[in-house]
Amino acid sequence: MNVYIVGMGISLPKKSSSEFSFREMIYEAAIKAYKDANIEPKNVDIFVSVSEDFEEGTSIFDEYVPDQLGAVLKPVHTICADALTGLVSIYSLIKTGHFKIGVLEAHSKLSNVKNHSHLFAMGLDPVYIRPLEVNPYFIAGLEMAMFLDSRGYDELDAAFVVSKNKSNALTFGRSPFGTTITPEEVLFSEPVSEPLKRLDISPNADGACVFVIANEEVAKERKKDLIRILGLGFGGFTPNIEMWRGDAEYLEVASKKAYSMAGIKNPIKEIDFAEIDDTFSYKELQHIEALSLSRVGESAELLKEGFYDLDGELPVNTTGGNMGNGNLSLMNGARSLYDAVLQLRGHAGNVQLLDPETALVASWKGLPSASGAVVILKREG
């Protein structure tokens, strides 16, 4: 039995959303998704929401999920992970055969977080690391240095990611952080934790995203826009940052499972385009290599050659990634998934690729985690 994405809705990424509550943004996305899937929430068997308490400023945040989704007195639960990991839950629930339609919800209200680095600090080990009272961006700085050094790359290589993605965002036209910027300009932005600079960091944004996922029986009633979930995986490495080695092992674990489910042997050839986490500039390169979308140590060269450009052989982050759309925290994977489905449906406007069939979406949970997920999609019909 196959599982499909049959509907989706978004409250578009924005720099801040003081005029809306998180509930209103989720409601907006849910209404759009139900309309897109041509269902009523009463038809939904199962709901999954992704959130982390501290980010919401509310403990046991799942309390505040059901009403705006139309999920009152329905089976609802929260997954404390990125949206793509939440998608694994919905997928599995449908695959048990007990449920036909599931809904996945993710949102970001990072504009409510007064001091983001304080939030990161609360994720650090309270005994060994947090007492150092160092700005937690040092983790990204150290990891960036370790990654660049181990591959023989330099800061300019990472800056090319920013330039490409912000340019894609500008072309797309929907993304709030689209602009034309040269890699050299990224290098001249102020240092946050060397070699990480301000423009190596994707800016925070707000938004909400809802997906309707269904089994084959429900999906086949839909004559067009059939997007099949071909493979998924999620993975972790270790929360002990002192053991990190500059590789994204979590995506190695996740992609191994996803490729095996999807029967993909040569991802570079078989994947038409990818939406990959680029919360920090170097992360895109690190993730590309972990996903085997380049050989280790070759991603930077391929990037500069235009391999991952919109008109390249394997376009990456066609709508601008997190650099162009903003860092939406646990919603990052959902926004990437949304944009991948837009591409597969042929609705990506100025950045539309020529008839793509297979897409890969990969997410990272963000600082200071070492966990992420991968989804592979295929257009049918």
Binding site: M1, E52, D53, F54, E55, G57, T58, S59, I60, D62, E63, Y64, V65, P66, D67, A71, V72, L73, K74, P75, V76, H77, T78, I79, C80, A81, T85, V88, S89, Y91, S92, L93, I94, K95, T96, G97, H98, L119, F120, M122, G123, D125, P126, V127, G233, F234, G235, G236, F237, T238, P239, N240, E249, V253, A254, K365, P368, S369, A370, S371
Partner: protein, 390 residues
């Protein structure tokens, strides 16, 4: 389609007021015991499900990620599900769907709670579960809303306080036989002892409330082919159910937990149960407060509305009942302790041990083939149910 999922092993740490171990160490200990019982190595496990209640207890953001290495998830897929107090029972539901779907074959489930880190008292952390504009500024905690719910339940069914106290008497006595029980909370109490304890928020008395506890519990579950290969005494997950009601708890009549009923109906349907009062033989309902056990037994459709207290007086829920349904033979949260997520999984483990006939002094007298564990949480809002069978 759904694959049958069975249990291979379980482990629980000692429950205690203030553990010297870190949360990771507690998780490690429980996971190690579960793997030992299953006769497995961590390398044989495909994925780890982590369950733990609010991050505010530990003051650690992304608590599931932080606990992951202690729970055995180094370089492995792991996921944390969260439905407040319902999380412990939900954790096995989470593992069930990852295995039943065919996504993985073998899953380690680890539920951990370290409430003592929250100073001076974890009730303070519970203020942050309320609506930040309307309720939080009132300085409320959980005891406050449960006193309202308890009052409403007692008023609608005209239940005397003495009957509610009987739940604490029963469970604290049962808890004496649990090897993991928290020091000082189980014992031979009388109704008077319970009613003479301090009033915390009327009508809730101190001995009607489960204590603050640290601890962890773990289980190993697997797909049918793995279970049959590894054990000749399989215990199966027959049905699961969960349900979440509206956030606006003030708009509900609190005398009846409809969300528990809906969760139970989902689980009964999955297990093919038509008459739960005949087909459920032992039950572990969530009892963080004494009245909640009765409230939940009614929500689980094991008693008519308002009848659970009367059956309690008749000994219907006692451990040694021959015609009734033994309820909380473990001692429950009142008799063993309440490390929230771990307490929920402890209830599932009790049903597992009872069905295997390995509950020792706690083994129920009547013949049993099927048992149910249930938990509840959020703003009196979520019900989670699992049914196990031989």
């Amino acid at each position: 389609m759904a694959r049958k999922v069975g249990i291979l092993g379980a482990g629980i740490t000692k429950f205690m007021r203030r553990a010297k171990e870190t949360g990771k160490e507690l998780a490690f200990e429980a996971a190690k015991h579960a793997l030992e019982e299953a006769g497995m190595d961590i390398n044989e496990i495909d994925c780890v499900v982590i369950s733990t209640a609010p991050d505010a207890f530990d003051g650690v953001h992304m608590k599931g990620d932080w606990l992951s290495d202690g729970a055995g998830a180094k370089k492995k897929p792991f996921m944390r599900s969260f439905v407040g107090g319902g999380s412990g029972v939900f954790s096995i539901i989470h593992g069930w769907y990852l295995v039943s779907s065919g996504f993985f074959d073998k899953c380690l489930i680890v539920a951990e709670e370290k409430m003592s880190s929250c100073m001076p008292h974890p009730q303070g952390a519970f203020n942050s579960i309320y609506d930040q504009f309307i309720e939080r500024p009132l300085g409320v905690n959980l005891l406050w809303i449960f006193s309202l719910e308890m009052m409403r339940y007692m008023k609608v069914h005209k239940i005397p306080l003495e009957t509610i106290a009987l739940v604490a008497v029963k469970n604290k006595k049962n808890g004496l036989d649990h090897p993991c029980t928290q020091k000082g909370i189980s014992g031979e109490y009388t109704v008077n002892d319970i009613l003479n304890s301090e009033i915390i928020a009327y009508p809730v008395h101190r001995l009607m409330v489960s204590p603050v506890t640290d601890g962890a519990a773990a289980m190993v579950i697997a797909a049918e082919h793995e279970v049959k290969r590894r054990t000749d005494k399989p215990i199966w997950i027959e049905g699961v159910g969960f349900c979440l009601d509206t956030s606006y708890w003030t708009n509900r009549d609190l005398y009846y937990p409809k969300y528990v009923e809906y969760a139970a109906r989902m689980a009964y349907e999955m297990a093919g149960i038509k008459d739960p009062r005949k087909e459920i033989h032992v039950v572990e309902p969530y009892d963080p407060f004494a009245y909640k056990e009765l409230h939940h037994l009614e929500g689980l459709l094991l008693a008519d509305k308002g009848e659970a207290p009367k059956l309690l007086e008749k000994g219907f829920w006692d451990r040694d009942t021959e015609n009734g349904i033994p309820s909380s033979p473990s001692g429950g949260l009142l008799g063993v302790g309440n490390p929230i997520a771990a307490a929920g999984l402890m209830r599932v483990i009790e049903i597992y041990l009872q069905l295997k006939g390995e509950a020792g002094k706690r083994q129920v007298k009547r013949e049993i083939k099927r048992g149910l564990a249930q938990a509840w949480g959020d703003l009196m809002q979520v019900g989670t149910v699992v049914i196990l069978s031989k």
